[in-house]
Protein backbone atom coordinates (compact mmCIF):
# COMPACT_ATOMS: atom_id res chain seq x y z
CA UNK A 1 0.00 0.00 0.00
CA UNK A 2 1.25 3.47 -0.89
CA UNK A 3 1.79 5.32 2.40
CA UNK A 4 0.91 8.61 0.76
CA UNK A 5 -2.32 7.30 -0.71
CA UNK A 6 -5.50 8.94 0.53
CA UNK A 7 -8.76 7.11 1.08
CA UNK A 8 -11.07 7.87 -1.85
CA UNK A 9 -14.70 8.96 -1.51
CA UNK A 10 -17.66 7.94 -3.70
CA UNK A 11 -20.97 9.78 -3.52
CA UNK A 12 -23.99 7.71 -4.50
CA UNK A 13 -27.07 9.84 -5.05
CA UNK A 14 -30.34 9.40 -6.88
CA UNK A 15 -29.55 12.73 -8.55
CA UNK A 16 -26.44 13.30 -10.66
CA UNK A 17 -26.61 17.01 -9.89
CA UNK A 18 -26.78 16.37 -6.16
CA UNK A 19 -23.78 14.02 -6.23
CA UNK A 20 -21.76 16.44 -8.37
CA UNK A 21 -22.63 19.44 -6.19
CA UNK A 22 -21.77 17.67 -2.97
CA UNK A 23 -18.49 16.50 -4.49
CA UNK A 24 -17.66 20.05 -5.55
CA UNK A 25 -18.38 21.38 -2.06
CA UNK A 26 -16.36 18.65 -0.33
CA UNK A 27 -13.41 19.28 -2.67
CA UNK A 28 -13.43 22.97 -1.78
CA UNK A 29 -13.59 22.36 1.96
CA UNK A 30 -10.93 19.64 1.97
CA UNK A 31 -8.42 21.40 -0.29
CA UNK A 32 -8.62 19.18 -3.35
CA UNK A 33 -6.16 16.46 -2.32
CA UNK A 34 -8.67 13.60 -2.18
CA UNK A 35 -10.38 11.72 -5.02
CA UNK A 36 -14.10 12.47 -4.64
CA UNK A 37 -16.09 10.75 -7.36
CA UNK A 38 -19.82 11.41 -7.85
CA UNK A 39 -22.00 8.48 -8.95
CA UNK A 40 -25.47 9.96 -9.31
CA UNK A 41 -28.49 9.10 -11.40
CA UNK A 42 -29.26 6.23 -13.73
CA UNK A 43 -27.36 5.17 -16.84
CA UNK A 44 -29.78 7.17 -19.03
CA UNK A 45 -29.44 10.30 -16.92
CA UNK A 46 -32.65 9.98 -14.89
CA UNK A 47 -33.24 9.93 -11.17
CA UNK A 48 -32.13 6.70 -9.53
CA UNK A 49 -28.95 4.80 -8.90
CA UNK A 50 -26.77 2.71 -11.17
CA UNK A 51 -24.53 -0.14 -10.09
CA UNK A 52 -22.40 0.42 -13.21
CA UNK A 53 -21.85 4.08 -12.31
CA UNK A 54 -20.98 3.18 -8.74
CA UNK A 55 -18.54 0.51 -9.88
CA UNK A 56 -16.76 2.94 -12.22
CA UNK A 57 -16.62 5.57 -9.47
CA UNK A 58 -15.13 3.18 -6.92
CA UNK A 59 -12.37 2.20 -9.34
CA UNK A 60 -11.63 5.86 -10.10
CA UNK A 61 -11.59 6.81 -6.41
CA UNK A 62 -9.14 4.13 -5.34
CA UNK A 63 -5.50 5.09 -4.97
CA UNK A 64 -4.47 2.20 -2.77
CA UNK A 65 -5.86 3.18 0.64
CA UNK A 66 -9.44 2.05 0.05
CA UNK A 67 -12.73 3.75 -0.74
CA UNK A 68 -15.59 4.99 1.42
CA UNK A 69 -19.04 5.18 -0.20
CA UNK A 70 -21.61 7.64 1.11
CA UNK A 71 -25.20 7.01 -0.09
CA UNK A 72 -27.94 9.65 -0.07
CA UNK A 73 -31.12 7.67 0.66
CA UNK A 74 -32.03 4.12 1.53
CA UNK A 75 -32.42 2.60 -1.91
CA UNK A 76 -28.94 3.82 -2.90
CA UNK A 77 -27.78 1.49 -0.14
CA UNK A 78 -29.45 -1.43 -1.91
CA UNK A 79 -27.59 -0.69 -5.14
CA UNK A 80 -24.25 -0.44 -3.33
CA UNK A 81 -24.83 -3.56 -1.26
CA UNK A 82 -25.76 -5.58 -4.34
CA UNK A 83 -22.60 -4.39 -6.08
CA UNK A 84 -20.36 -5.13 -3.09
CA UNK A 85 -21.95 -8.57 -2.80
CA UNK A 86 -20.91 -9.52 -6.31
CA UNK A 87 -17.61 -11.27 -6.82
CA UNK A 88 -16.12 -8.52 -8.93
CA UNK A 89 -12.76 -6.86 -9.29
CA UNK A 90 -13.44 -3.90 -7.01
CA UNK A 91 -10.48 -2.51 -5.09
CA UNK A 92 -10.37 -3.22 -1.37
CA UNK A 93 -11.15 -2.21 1.22
CA UNK A 94 -14.49 -0.61 0.31
CA UNK A 95 -16.74 0.55 3.14
CA UNK A 96 -20.29 1.90 3.09
CA UNK A 97 -20.82 4.77 5.57
CA UNK A 98 -24.13 5.27 7.40
CA UNK A 99 -24.10 9.05 7.41
CA UNK A 100 -26.03 12.19 6.46
CA UNK A 101 -25.13 12.94 2.85
CA UNK A 102 -23.67 16.46 2.78
CA UNK A 103 -22.20 16.50 6.26
CA UNK A 104 -20.94 12.95 5.95
CA UNK A 105 -19.20 13.59 2.64
CA UNK A 106 -17.56 16.77 3.91
CA UNK A 107 -16.41 15.13 7.17
CA UNK A 108 -15.17 12.00 5.39
CA UNK A 109 -13.27 13.99 2.78
CA UNK A 110 -11.56 16.22 5.33
CA UNK A 111 -10.60 13.13 7.37
CA UNK A 112 -9.16 11.56 4.22
CA UNK A 113 -7.28 14.77 3.36
CA UNK A 114 -5.77 14.70 6.84
CA UNK A 115 -4.32 11.28 6.09
CA UNK A 116 -6.83 9.22 8.03
CA UNK A 117 -7.15 5.51 7.28
CA UNK A 118 -10.39 3.95 6.07
CA UNK A 119 -11.66 3.34 9.62
CA UNK A 120 -10.99 6.98 10.59
CA UNK A 121 -12.77 8.20 7.45
CA UNK A 122 -15.84 6.01 8.03
CA UNK A 123 -15.99 7.12 11.67
CA UNK A 124 -15.76 10.80 10.66
CA UNK A 125 -18.64 10.34 8.23
CA UNK A 126 -20.81 8.48 10.72
CA UNK A 127 -20.14 10.95 13.56
CA UNK A 128 -21.50 13.67 11.26
CA UNK A 129 -25.00 12.68 12.34
CA UNK A 130 -24.26 14.18 15.76
CA UNK A 131 -22.91 17.50 14.50
CA UNK A 132 -25.10 20.47 15.26
CA UNK A 133 -25.36 23.38 12.88
CA UNK A 134 -26.74 25.90 15.37
Amino acid sequence: MNLDARVGIVLVSHSAALAEGAAELAAQVSGGTVAIIPAGGTDDGGLGTSAARVERAVKLADSGAGVVIVPDLGSAVLTVRALLGEAGDLPTPVELADAPFVEGVVAATVAAAGGGNIKTVVTAAEEARHARKL
Binding site: V106, V110, A113
Partner: protein, 90 residues
Protein backbone atom coordinates in the same frame (compact mmCIF):
# COMPACT_ATOMS: atom_id res chain seq x y z
CA UNK B 1 3.26 14.02 31.47
CA UNK B 2 1.91 15.38 28.19
CA UNK B 3 2.52 19.04 27.48
CA UNK B 4 -0.41 21.39 27.28
CA UNK B 5 -0.37 24.72 25.54
CA UNK B 6 -2.87 27.36 24.57
CA UNK B 7 -3.04 30.63 22.73
CA UNK B 8 -5.83 33.00 21.66
CA UNK B 9 -6.32 34.92 18.44
CA UNK B 10 -8.90 37.49 17.36
CA UNK B 11 -10.52 36.55 14.06
CA UNK B 12 -10.22 39.07 11.25
CA UNK B 13 -12.92 37.32 9.21
CA UNK B 14 -15.65 34.75 9.65
CA UNK B 15 -14.66 31.11 10.07
CA UNK B 16 -16.23 29.70 6.91
CA UNK B 17 -16.20 26.17 5.51
CA UNK B 18 -12.92 26.39 3.62
CA UNK B 19 -10.74 27.62 6.50
CA UNK B 20 -12.52 25.16 8.78
CA UNK B 21 -11.49 22.36 6.43
CA UNK B 22 -7.88 23.59 6.23
CA UNK B 23 -7.80 23.79 9.99
CA UNK B 24 -9.12 20.26 10.50
CA UNK B 25 -6.68 18.83 7.94
CA UNK B 26 -3.79 20.61 9.70
CA UNK B 27 -4.91 19.51 13.18
CA UNK B 28 -4.97 15.89 11.99
CA UNK B 29 -1.22 16.06 11.40
CA UNK B 30 -0.57 16.28 15.17
CA UNK B 31 -0.93 13.57 17.75
CA UNK B 32 -2.03 16.07 20.41
CA UNK B 33 -5.70 16.64 21.14
CA UNK B 34 -6.55 20.13 19.86
CA UNK B 35 -9.63 22.16 20.75
CA UNK B 36 -11.06 25.52 19.76
CA UNK B 37 -13.10 27.58 22.19
CA UNK B 38 -15.24 30.58 21.26
CA UNK B 39 -17.25 32.03 24.12
CA UNK B 40 -19.07 29.13 25.77
CA UNK B 41 -18.66 26.73 22.82
CA UNK B 42 -15.80 24.33 22.20
CA UNK B 43 -15.02 21.99 19.33
CA UNK B 44 -12.46 19.35 18.44
CA UNK B 45 -10.19 21.05 15.89
CA UNK B 46 -9.91 17.77 13.98
CA UNK B 47 -13.69 17.77 13.32
CA UNK B 48 -14.53 20.03 10.39
CA UNK B 49 -18.24 19.94 11.25
CA UNK B 50 -17.49 20.80 14.87
CA UNK B 51 -15.32 23.74 13.83
CA UNK B 52 -17.99 25.02 11.41
CA UNK B 53 -20.62 24.54 14.10
CA UNK B 54 -18.86 27.08 16.32
CA UNK B 55 -20.15 29.77 13.97
CA UNK B 56 -17.15 31.94 14.82
CA UNK B 57 -17.27 35.39 13.28
CA UNK B 58 -14.94 38.32 12.68
CA UNK B 59 -13.85 40.06 15.86
CA UNK B 60 -14.39 37.05 18.12
CA UNK B 61 -11.55 35.63 20.19
CA UNK B 62 -10.73 31.98 19.55
CA UNK B 63 -8.67 30.06 22.08
CA UNK B 64 -6.69 27.17 20.66
CA UNK B 65 -5.66 24.59 23.26
CA UNK B 66 -3.65 21.42 22.75
CA UNK B 67 -2.53 18.61 24.96
CA UNK B 68 0.02 16.02 23.92
CA UNK B 69 3.61 15.61 22.82
CA UNK B 70 3.40 18.16 20.00
CA UNK B 71 0.99 20.59 21.69
CA UNK B 72 3.00 23.74 21.11
CA UNK B 73 3.57 23.03 17.40
CA UNK B 74 -0.12 22.15 16.96
CA UNK B 75 -1.29 25.41 18.53
CA UNK B 76 1.16 27.42 16.41
CA UNK B 77 -0.04 25.74 13.21
CA UNK B 78 -3.72 26.30 13.99
CA UNK B 79 -3.20 29.91 15.05
CA UNK B 80 -1.39 30.56 11.76
CA UNK B 81 -4.31 29.13 9.77
CA UNK B 82 -6.86 31.15 11.73
CA UNK B 83 -4.85 34.32 11.21
CA UNK B 84 -4.38 33.74 7.49
CA UNK B 85 -7.52 31.98 6.35
CA UNK B 86 -10.02 34.25 8.04
CA UNK B 87 -8.46 37.37 6.56
CA UNK B 88 -11.07 39.26 4.58
CA UNK B 89 -11.19 38.04 1.01
CA UNK B 90 -9.33 34.78 1.70
Amino acid sequence: MPASYEQAVTLTGDLHARPAGALAVAAAQFSSAVSLTVGASSADAKSVLGVMGLGATSGQDVTVAAEGPDAEQAVAAIIAILAEATRVGA
